[in-house]
């Protein structure tokens, strides 16, 4: 039985990997369909069937303050299933943005804007396989993003191994608040292959591999480059960016009813950006109904091939986006979650309230302050309050 399951999984992995290598979105979808069909028609189900996400409603309030940018707003999510094979969700999200960032300070005026995001999705369970579909729209006065996703999760070896495949298509419109006739297209394709594995009674391993291809207008329509010390021309990026990401995560259960999480992510792209991310997390029960989460994260990257803080002359491709410069970022986070009630027999089975604080520190090597000429850096604070009901 395992041999057949194994063969099927390998065939499906190879089909999708082949699609990844070919870099062809239609093949990605075909490979996903193949996996779905072979998983369902194979007729082999393990003792432990996959489980749909639990029914829940979340109300989130978030507040970001850093680098003279403030973003705040509420967000709600509702997920409900039929207790059999279907589970649907909807979420609504608002960002109220007030910005006078370093770029805005240098050559523009502070602004306020609002971003609305709405998403809908459906998960369908069949034996050991869950297929999910989703669509989302994010809208602000100068940017409209539409996202469609298709994913598949298949359990093998009595739930020891879970194979995850995903495909996301993004269709965006880039506008400009100062020019109502300005409209550019940006398309993206994301392909994801992931494996989660039970290693021992106390260790879990997760590996994710993702390819992203962005095409179209990829730069910011407002940002300018500096030539000989003067902000003179708009940025000009290549019209394609292809990136590759490999993330490895391990979770370890500790005797003291706590767990440790280790993460490493490597990123590279055809703009010559290479990045490394390392993260460690620790989760601990202070009491049966109170959980504390701690996390520390380090990130480093080098600059894109066409980035410069100050160009000596105009070139075909030019960027002065600090996100494409050489920099390091350090962040720490803490979250406390209180289970307010727990009654599995009532309509509302449980309720959680959590508060989270995250502190970010960004230090740029080759992006300087436009006035002082010193390397730029900024700190940011993020607060979140989340109320969740499980039913």
């Amino acid at each position: 039985m395992c041999g057949l399951t194994y063969f099927r999984a390998m065939w499906n992995s190879l089909a999708l990997t082949s699609a990844f290598l070919e870099h062809w979105s239609r093949r990605g979808v075909v490979a996903l369909a193949l996996l779905t069909a072979t998983s369902w028609l194979g007729g082999v189900t393990d003792a432990n069937a996959a489980v749909l996400p639990e029914d829940r409603a979340d109300a989130l309030f978030h507040y970001y303050d850093g680098g003279n940018v403030r973003v705040s707003g509420p967000a709600v999510l509702i997920r409900k299933g039929d207790n059999k094979s279907l589970s649907g969700f909807a979420h609504y999200y608002i960002d109220n943005v007030s910005s006078a960032s370093i770029d805005v300070e240098a050559y523009a005026s502070p602004y306020r804007e609002k971003r609305n995001e709405i998403a809908l999705g459906l998960d369908y369970l069949h034996g050991d396989t869950i297929v999910n579909f989703g669509a989302a729209n994010s809208n602000e006065n100068d940017y409209d993003a539409n996202t469609f996703n298709l994913g598949l999760s298949h359990e093998m070896l009595s739930g020891m191994t879970t194979l995850n495949l995903g495909f996301v298509r993004g269709i965006d419109k880039v506008g400009k608040s100062t020019d109502e006739n300005f409209e550019r297209d940006k398309d993206s394709h994301r392909y994801r292959l992931g494996v989660s594995q039970v290693l021992t009674k106390k260790w879990l391993l997760n590996i994710d591999y993702e390819i992203i291809s962005d095409d179209g207008f990829l730069n910011n329509p407002y940002r300018q480059v500096r030539i000989d010390g003067i902000f003179a021309l708009p940025e000009q990026y290549p019209t394609n960016r292809t990136s590759y990401t490999l993330a490895v995560r391990a979770l370890q259960y500790l005797e003291s009813r706590s767990s440790l999480r280790y993460e490493y992510r490597y990123f590279t792209d055809n703009w010559d950006v290479n990045a490394h991310t390392m993260e460690v997390g620790y989760v601990h029960y202070y009491a049966p109904d109170i959980i504390g989460d701690y996390r520390a994260r380090f990130y480093t990257q080098n600059a894109a091939a066409f980035y410069a803080d100050n160009f000596d002359e105009a070139r075909e491709f030019m960027a002065r986006d600090k996100e494409l410069s050489t920099f390091t970022a350090l962040s720490f986070g803490y979250k406390v979650t209180w289970r307010m009630f727990d009654n599995p027999t009532s309509i509302f089975k449980a309720g959680d309230l959590s508060f989270a604080y995250n502190r970010f520190k960004f230090d740029y090597d080759d992006f300087t302050h436009y006035a002082t000429g010193e390397p730029y850096s900024f700190r940011a604070n993020v607060f979140q309050m989340l109320f969740s009901i499980f039913y």
Partner: protein
């Protein structure tokens, strides 16, 4: 320097090799369902609250050059 294409091939092979290594050669589960008490604890989830974790992932994605490979994330720009 390693080219992105070489990295891609390496990462793809690594992912497949890991799949083979951790599950392919096994004929049966070596951690039985009744032995997964620790693994079933909510603190062994990669994300207990995907909605709020997705917000943090979005902050990183809009302020760093790297993208992808996260537990949550996506949606809109909110870049500057």
């Amino acid at each position: 320097m390693t080219s992105p294409k070489q990295t891609l091939k390496f990462a793809g092979l690594l992912t497949l090799a890991m799949t083979l290594l951790v599950s392919g050669c096994a004929t049966e589960a070596w951690v039985m369902p009744y032995e997964r008490e620790y693994l079933a604890d909510p603190i062994m989830l990669l994300s207990r609250d995907p909605f709020s974790d997705g917000y943090i992932a979005h902050i990183y994605e809009t302020r760093e050059g790297a993208q992808g490979g996260t537990v949550g994330g996506g949606g809109g720009c909110g870049c500057n």
